[in-house]
């Protein structure tokens, strides 16, 4: 079997996996590494539930070939928490009622994470633009935007951001 031997860093941990060339990063995360915090749905980069951060950028893991991630840094929702402490984004989602069914939330948070890393002080409109690729059917987005705005302020205050 011609499989691609990959050395992949996920949430700071190195993994050596062997995958068929046409398999997506999502396949590897969920099926090989059993990191099911990253969700699966449309498989055509329309819904955003599979969003992870690769080399600091949000990507739809369903349309990214795993083989293309050789040597790259992947962060998933499981890598966001610092031990038992939630990341400020996660905390803000809890506090602001931004979570309903929760299925879009890992992708939503990872989308927001990459965005806030580049835009520490966004406007509400910019937040809406940033998460437009991640569909949520439960919340109508309002409390998600509230949560991201609150998290951005907290992150700036914590001095983690310029």
């Amino acid at each position: 079997m011609t499989e691609v031997q990959l050395d992949l860093t996920v949430n700071g941990r190195r993994h050596r996996v062997s995958v068929p060339a046409h398999h997506s990063l999502l396949d590897v995360l969920r099926d090989e590494l059993e990191l099911t915090g990253t969700k699966t749905n449309c498989l055509e980069a329309e819904c955003g539930v599979c969003t992870v951060v690769v080399d600091g950028k949000s990507v739809a893991s369903c349309t990214m070939l795993a083989a293309q991630c050789q040597g790259r840094e992947v962060v998933t929702i499981e890598g966001l928490q610092d031990g038992g402490d939630l990341h400020p984004l996660q905390e803000a989602f809890v506090e602001h009622g931004a979570v309903q069914c929760g299925y879009c939330i890992p992708g939503m948070i990872m989308t927001a994470k990459a965005f806030l890393d580049e835009n520490p002080r966004p406007t509400r409109e910019a937040v809406r633009e940033a998460i437009a690729g991640t569909l949520c059917r439960c919340t109508g987005y309002q409390k998600i935007v509230d949560a991201i705005m609150a998290a951005s302020q907290r992150l700036v205050q914590q001095g983690e951001r310029p």
């Binding site: 079997m1 011609t2 691609v4 068929p20 060339a21 046409h22 997506s24 498989l43 055509e44 980069a45 329309e46 955003g48 969003t51 950028k57 949000s58 990507v59 739809a60 369903c62 349309t63 990214m64 070939l65 083989a67 293309q68 050789q70 989308t111 990459a114 965005f115 633009e129 940033a130 998460i131 437009a132 690729g133 991640t134």
Partner: protein, 295 residues
Amino acid sequence: MKVEFLEPQSLQDAVAMAKAKGVGARFVAGGTDLVIQMRKTGVLPEAIINLQRLRALGEIKHDADGFSLGALVTHRQIESEDRFLGGLQALRESACVIGGHQVRNVATLGGNLCNASPAADMVPILLCFNADVTLVGSSGSRNIPLAAFIEGPRKTQRAHDEVMTDIRFPKPAGKFASAFLKGGRRRAMEISIVAMAGVVSMSAGGTMTDVRLAMGAAGPKAIRLAQAEKFLEGKVPSKAVLEEAGKLAAAAASPIDDVRASASFRRHLVGVYARRVIELGWNRISEAGNDRSAA
């Protein structure tokens, strides 16, 4: 089904691999189209040739002749490029309406052009800037005007072993502005039902000159609207002038009926957006100072 994964470290390697593997090989850059196609059709290529190690193709360069965008430049790079403010802002406007951040972070300009979707949002503005594409293959390198490169839906002049390396366009002279507008059912995540880009310059006499207008999603491929352009040349954009230009644009459209919109609605929107793009470009020139018009 076994798919070989090849990682050329140089352009020459990439071309050689494609030539060796033949038509069964597919190049991949961002992957946003290829992965979906593979899953939907169940048809896998014999080999996937990853272009992402060719980092030199991921840069936006600028010299006296104009701009050169590497084929691996992502949509996010374009939409956040500071040199694409002012007169070139329609490049940013065209790039930022494609998919979500997740897609734009990886989807490349080269991929967008080589896919040749009639609704590819980057094409109209690049047509306005008279962009050329460079293809490098086993028999050498060639430059083709973008207008000729895309032949029709999903059809281009690229041979299977040719790699698109960059997209170049000259900077228009003088005081000019650009604009891009698109129609779709939502404000994001939309495949355009009509896309319209325009570039307009202001003559010393205060009239429009060097007007360029291109539309996408209203025919088998994006095209320049020569008749409307010619009509607008030397005029001031009065309501009547814009109306007439819109009519000429709509007449040039050859849209289809599909699940997104009817042909007649697309044609109607072509007229509206042609007018509005020119109007918006003109307002931008009028608002901008001389020095701010171009990058």
